[in-house]
C-alpha cells in the first residue's frame, strides 16, 4: 500500500523564495501521476521533498500512511530516476544496479537474481560489465531505471528522466516506462515540463505554476476542461488561441474582439450574463478553428475573413497563422488542401468548443 499524500506542503528557501506553496495532493496506490509545469514552477522541488532530498518548510508528507517529514530518504522506500542519469561512473552497469541492495546488505544471490531480472526487463543483459561512459544516452537512462526497479520500492520518482534524450528515443522510452508501470503496478510520480509526455503517461496530471497547484485531473479532462487561463494555455500544442474582447448583448450574446466579432451560442448565456459589457478572454484551440468551406455540418459561429500570414506544414497536418493586427492566431488544418501565404479565407469557430476566462482572476467563466 503506497498512497502518497501531501497536506499543505510548503517550501520556502533561505532567500525567502517560496518554491512550493500549500500543496494538497493525494496520489493513490499504483497511480501514475505526472507533475507538469514550466521551469521554476516547483515541480522538481515537490518531488525532491517527497524523496526526502529537500526539507519541508511546513505541511506534512505521508507515504503509505506514515508521516515521513523527518524520515531520511533511504528509509522512505522510494527510488528515483534523475534527469542526468546519476550513474556512478566508477561502477559497471551491474554494480550500479546492485549498489542500493548491497548497501542494504541483501544476500549476494538475491542481488544477482534481482539485477538479472531487471536487466532482462530493460534489455541490458549484454551491457552488465560496461562502465556508464561506454553507454549511449538511452542505455544510461535504462540503467538508471534498472537501478530503481531492483529495489522494488513502494514509490518510483522520476525527475525529467527523458529530457536529455533525442526526440525519437524519448518516444520509445515513454512507451517503455508506461509498460513498466503496467507490469510493476507501483505508485509512480513523474516530473516533466513536456506536456506531451504528461498527456501520454499519466493517469492523473498535476499542473503547477509558481509553486501553486493549478488543476489536478485526468489528461483528457485537463485538455477539454481547463480550470483557468494558465492550464488552457499550457496543455495542448500548438497552444490554445487567446483573444481579448468584450461581451455584448444585442438580443444574443456577441464577442467583440479587436478585429473579429463572433456571435455566441445561447447555451453560454447563463455563464456570460454577468460579463456583459466587460472584458473577457476568448480561448479556442487551433483544431476548433475551421475554414468555413471545409467545416462540414459542425455547429459553427459566424465566419470572419482572415489573411494567412505563415504556413507550417508538418506532414500529417498544416498550421496556418493569421493575425488581427495585434496578436497571431493558429489553426490546424488537414494537409489535403493547399494554402498559400497571403491567401484570404473565411474562418469560423466550433461553437461547442469555446472557452471564456476572466482577465483579472484568470479563472474560467464558461
Amino acid at each position: 500500500m503506497a498512497r502518497v499524500e501531501l497536506v499543505d506542503v510548503t517550501k520556502v528557501y533561505d532567500n525567502k523564495v517560496t518554491a512550493v506553496n500549500t500543496v494538497n495532493l493525494v496520489i493513490e496506490d499504483r497511480e501514475f501521476v505526472v507533475l507538469v509545469g514550466p521551469s521554476g514552477c516547483g515541480k522538481s522541488t515537490l518531488l525532491r521533498m517527497i524523496a526526502g532530498l529537500e526539507e519541508v518548510t511546513s505541511g506534512d508528507i505521508f507515504i503509505g500512511g506514515q508521516r515521513v517529514n523527518d524520515v531520511p530518504p533511504k528509509d522512505r522506500d522510494i527510488a528515483m530516476v534523475f534527469q542526468n542519469y546519476a550513474l556512478y561512473p566508477h561502477m559497471t552497469v551491474f554494480e550500479n544496479m546492485a549498489f542500493g541492495l548491497k548497501i542494504r546488505k541483501f544476500p549476494r544471490e538475491e542481488i544477482r537474481r534481482r539485477v538479472l531480472e531487471a536487466a532482462d526487463i530493460l534489455g541490458l543483459q549484454e551491457l552488465l560489465d560496461r562502465k556508464p561512459r561506454a553507454l549511449s544516452g538511452g542505455q544510461r537512462q535504462r540503467v538508471a531505471v534498472g537501478r530503481a526497479i531492483v529495489r522494488k520500492p513502494k514509490v518510483f520518482l522520476f525527475d525529467e528522466p527523458l529530457s536529455n534524450l533525442d526526440a525519437k528515443l524519448r518516444v520509445q522510452m515513454r512507451i517503455e516506462i508506461n509498460r513498466l508501470h503496467k507490469r510493476l503496478q507501483t505508485t509512480m510520480i513523474y516530473v516533466t515540463h513536456d506536456q506531451v509526455e504528461a498527456m501520454t503517461m499519466g493517469d492523473k496530471i498535476v499542473v503547477l505554476r509558481d509553486g501553486v497547484v493549478q488543476q489536478v485531473d485526468a489528461p483528457l479532462n485537463l485538455y477539454n476542461n481547463p480550470a483557468n487561463l494558465f492550464v488552457a494555455g499550457f496543455i495542448g500544442s500548438p497552444a490554445m488561441n487567446f483573444m481579448a474582447g468584450i461581451i455584448q448583448d444585442n438580443g444574443g450574446f456577441v464577442f467583440q474582439g479587436k478585429r473579429f466579432r463572433f456571435a455566441l451560442p445561447e447555451s453560454l448565456g447563463d455563464s456570460l450574463k454577468p460579463y456583459v459589457g466587460r472584458r473577457v478572454i476568448l480561448g479556442v484551440r487551433p483544431e476548433h478553428v475551421y475554414d468555413q468551406q471545409l467545416a462540414g455540418r459542425r455547429p459553427l459561429t459566424n465566419a470572419q475573413e482572415v489573411q494567412v500570414d505563415v504556413i507550417e506544414p508538418i506532414g500529417n497536418e498544416v498550421f496556418l497563422y493569421f493575425g488581427d493586427g495585434e496578436k497571431s492566431y493558429c489553426m490546424r488544418m488537414s494537409p489535403d488542401k493547399l494554402y498559400r501565404p497571403g491567401e484570404k479565407l473565411q474562418i469560423a469557430l466550433d461553437a461547442r468548443k469555446l472557452f471564456f476566462f476572466d482577465p483579472q482572476t484568470e479563472q474560467r467563466i464558461a
Binding site: 530518504p73 533511504k74 534527469q83 542519469y85 556512478y88 549498489f99
Partner: protein, 270 residues
C-alpha cells in the same frame, strides 16, 4: 619553423636551469671527493663511497622509516579529514558554513612562524615532545587539503550524491564509496603535495624532536650536514641529500599523470 626552434630553445634553457642542480647533486654524490669542486657532470669514475659513509655515520635507514611513518600518517590524515571537511563545506547545509570556509582561507595566509611558538607550547603541555605524535598530530589536517577537496567536490553533480542517498548511503559512505573513487586527481594532488611538504619539513622536527632515533630524514641530514659530523666532505652531504630527495622524485614520476590533470583542472571547474 623558426618559431618552433626558438620555442624549443627556450624550453631547453628552462629544463637546464631547473634540472642541472639536481643532476649535478646526483653526479657529485657518485663522484670521488676530489672531483666535486668542478661543475662537471660526468665523473671520471663512479664511487658509492659517499653513500657508504652516510650509512656508517648516521642512522639514515631508521630516519627514512621515521619519515615514511610520519609523512604517511600525515598524508592519510589530510586525505581522510580534509575530504571529510571539504565534503561538509561543499555539500552539507548548515549555519556558518561560509564563515568557516573564509576562516580556513584566512589561515592559509598566516605564515608558519606565527603559530610556531603557541604550537610548541601546546606540544609541551600535552607531553608530546619527543614523540611521533608531535610530528603527526598537528599536521593531520590543513586548509590547503580542505579547500582543494571542497572545490573538487563542488564539480561533482549533486544528482550523484542524491542518488547515493536514496540508494541508502550515509554521508561517510557517500564520501568514501562515491566521491573518493571519482576524485582520484584531487586525492593524488593533495596526497603528493602533503607528502612532499611533510617529507621536506625540517624546522618543526628540529624543535620538537631531540632524540636521534625519532628524527626524520631531513632533520637528521640537516644536523649531519651543518652539525659537523659530515667533516666538511661535500660528497657525503650530497649523498645524504640525494637519498632524501629520491623517494619524492619517484613518487612524482609514478603519479605525475594525475598530478598534472588535477593541477590543470582544479579551480577551473566551478
Amino acid at each position: 619553423m623558426a618559431r618552433k626552434v626558438i620555442l624549443y630553445l627556450v624550453l631547453l634553457v628552462g629544463i637546464v636551469v631547473f634540472t642541472y642542480p639536481f643532476f649535478w647533486m646526483l653526479m657529485a654524490s657518485l663522484a670521488p671527493e676530489k672531483e666535486i669542486e668542478s661543475l662537471v657532470l660526468i665523473p671520471s669514475q663512479v664511487s658509492l663511497n659517499s653513500y657508504r659513509q652516510v650509512v656508517e655515520k648516521i642512522p639514515i635507514f631508521r630516519a627514512f622509516c621515521n619519515s615514511l611513518l610520519v609523512s604517511g600518517a600525515v598524508t592519510a590524515g589530510v586525505l581522510v579529514f580534509g575530504s571529510m571537511v571539504g565534503y561538509a563545506l561543499s555539500r552539507l547545509r548548515f549555519r556558518g558554513r561560509n564563515l568557516i570556509f573564509y576562516i580556513l582561507l584566512f589561515t592559509m595566509t598566516l605564515p608558519f612562524q606565527i603559530t610556531l611558538i603557541p604550537q610548541y607550547i601546546l606540544m609541551v603541555k600535552l607531553g608530546w615532545v619527543d614523540t611521533y605524535l608531535a610530528l603527526i598530530a598537528p599536521y593531520m589536517m590543513n586548509a590547503f587539503g580542505i579547500i582543494m577537496f571542497r572545490q573538487f567536490f563542488l564539480s561533482i553533480p549533486q544528482d550523484l550524491i542524491d542518488a547515493a542517498r536514496i540508494d541508502g548511503c550515509g554521508d561517510l559512505q557517500i564520501l568514501f564509496r562515491i566521491l573518493w573513487p571519482n576524485s582520484i586527481p584531487a586525492l593524488v594532488t593533495v596526497g603528493i603535495i602533503t607528502f612532499m611538504n611533510s617529507w621536506n619539513e625540517v624546522l618543526w622536527p628540529l624543535i620538537v624532536i631531540r632524540v636521534e632515533k625519532l628524527m626524520t630524514m631531513p632533520q637528521l641530514i640537516a644536523l649531519f650536514a651543518v652539525g659537523g659530523r659530515a667533516e666538511a666532505q661535500l660528497g657525503v652531504k650530497l649523498a645524504a641529500a640525494t637519498m632524501l630527495a629520491l623517494p619524492i622524485v619517484l613518487a612524482y614520476l609514478f603519479f605525475q599523470r594525475y598530478f598534472i590533470e588535477s593541477m590543470a583542472t582544479s579551480g577551473l571547474k566551478e
